[in-house]
Symmetry: C2
Subunit: 342 residues, 2 copies
Amino acid sequence: MQKEVTIYDIAKQLQLSPATVSRALNDHPAINSNTKTIITSKALEMGYRSNMFASNLRRQRTNTIGVIVPRLDSAFMSTVLAGMEKVVNESNYNLIISQSLESIKKEVTNAKTMFDSRVDGLLVSLSSDTENLDHFNAFFRKGIPLILFDRVVQQKNCTNIVIDNLKAGYDATIHLIEQGCKRIMHVSGSLKRNVYADRLKGYRLALLEHGLPGGDELERSTNLTRQDGLDIAAYIKRMPTPPDGLFVSSDFCAVSCMGALKQSGFSIPNDIAVVGFNNDPVSLVIDPTLTTIHYPGQEMGEIAAQSLINHLNGLLRLSATNTILLNYDLIVRGSSQRVKLA
Amino acid sequence: MQKEVTIYDIAKQLQLSPATVSRALNDHPAINSNTKTIITSKALEMGYRSNMFASNLRRQRTNTIGVIVPRLDSAFMSTVLAGMEKVVNESNYNLIISQSLESIKKEVTNAKTMFDSRVDGLLVSLSSDTENLDHFNAFFRKGIPLILFDRVVQQKNCTNIVIDNLKAGYDATIHLIEQGCKRIMHVSGSLKRNVYADRLKGYRLALLEHGLPGGDELERSTNLTRQDGLDIAAYIKRMPTPPDGLFVSSDFCAVSCMGALKQSGFSIPNDIAVVGFNNDPVSLVIDPTLTTIHYPGQEMGEIAAQSLINHLNGLLRLSATNTILLNYDLIVRGSSQRVKLA
DNA sequence: ATTCATAAAGCAATCGGTTGCATAACAAAC
DNA sequence: GTTTGTTATGCAACCGATTGCTTTATGAAT
């Protein structure tokens, strides 16, 4: 345990005041550039590192950004986090990460912790339980910016970063229609969440436009787990008239469902064409490879973090841009490709 | 922006000194328990929240734990992080997470940042580039505890948390031998890292014990990516005498290799029996499902975090336990099961 | 020579808890 | 009645950086 070097030590060595040292290290204009050079190099020589706590205490700023996500152990979320980490790190901010495990209760606790940690801003993807943003009121009152990404609710105080899930759901369904599907089923997640509700809307819209059948029998809301995929396959097998197209709001669930369908003798894509969502690595593992919507996780993380940081640095007024829409891609692979290419 | 409640405000309202308030809130024995009750309830009533920066500044302690991992976007690592987050959160600590992207250069930078953030302790899984722990010297000098998990190096200053990779590699290989394999190939990752080097040793040991052929032709060191899996499949196809058993140090890579092998006409497990590593979700997606070593990610995260916290709270002397070994399981599935069960 | 503007640096208060040491109050012991 | 001990509380310095205001130095303008 060795004593830390402080600006006082530097000041003493150079016969200057701590105030001057502090200003020099922060590149304050009132300091002679010559003096700055001397101080900076001395600081380096002495191995000085600023004490963030003293600084934060004084400035009422922490250079820390809080992140609350539903689960850390999801392929998608970890790419988002990777993107955030990248940006944040480059801008000299820190990340405090916590997970709500899809429970509003834990989300509330996490929000409290973040508040106590005095984060400068918050990046949140809502749990499936969450109904409103009341637990973030403390942040709104203090003017701490909140950006919602992926799982969002519309609210005027905060910016949303999403893809156009309705359109994506629409595109996925249209693609199945173009492959000749006449009876398309959709498996969605919790309809409390925009991502799933919107995709469902897009699906319905596409069916409507093409006069295809829909309704309860063809719409299943699940938790999109592996088991749900198996259950859906069993359900399909029992149907008097099984679907010839299947759009699942998650690759992982789609893939487990495909496995079970194949076991039951369905041929993919000929009996049933399948489209997933997220471009999860598993989509390339299954045979046939899975058609899916590529979801720009890394990019979403980067943009969310960058927007927040820009806002904090006064480079961007968040309230001006209420929603940022990212592009997605429909990636067509074997699980849906019936029409032969010329 | 509203003013924060401080201990001074509480003190004023109750006609007490800030010192007493501070002690009461920290449950100091010298304070009358009656006074404590009064202060605590007043604090609650006024909506007081401690200012961590003032506290940290004074105590030289941050209640923050730093984590450096190779990649955030890996299934295994996100379960580890989930486990850490869980424990840390319950113990009122915070997590600062960063990724080295398998580069020693970034790992060094991350370590610096963690040091500047004055983390109370560090949990690290090394990048594949890392040769030694010199970049953590600042931590050792200051007595800040460092726990290495999964990707470790032996060093007396720090605790390691790992599974017995050698034994796991041995077990995986023995399993293939039991299934009748006579010519077993092993695909490993960077041999600089214990996890891969040890599994290779275990593999070699098993071969040796059973007098089976090994050597360069049957040992491939790769980055264990999807592409590497495809390359290995191509390599196998070109071999004059292809192996009849394949042990790959990563499920993801194993799975992509299996896909390519199937395409090339190999039957699994009959022509080639395959064992992976990690029990990644994809292992259940591939057909046949993949035999693998279950790697307790969540548990590893929990134990690493808990050990560190216990040490910080003086409940456990880390130096006493230099290595913690976790249990793993060989999960036998279709990709290797040749012997019919009675 | 005097006044004034400007640049550069210092003084000292401040952020909000924490903690070693002193003090006060009161009871028990001598 | 004085001493000693115990318990509960207060005083004030401290952690280290920041910043409004003041001071000093320097040169230009009058």
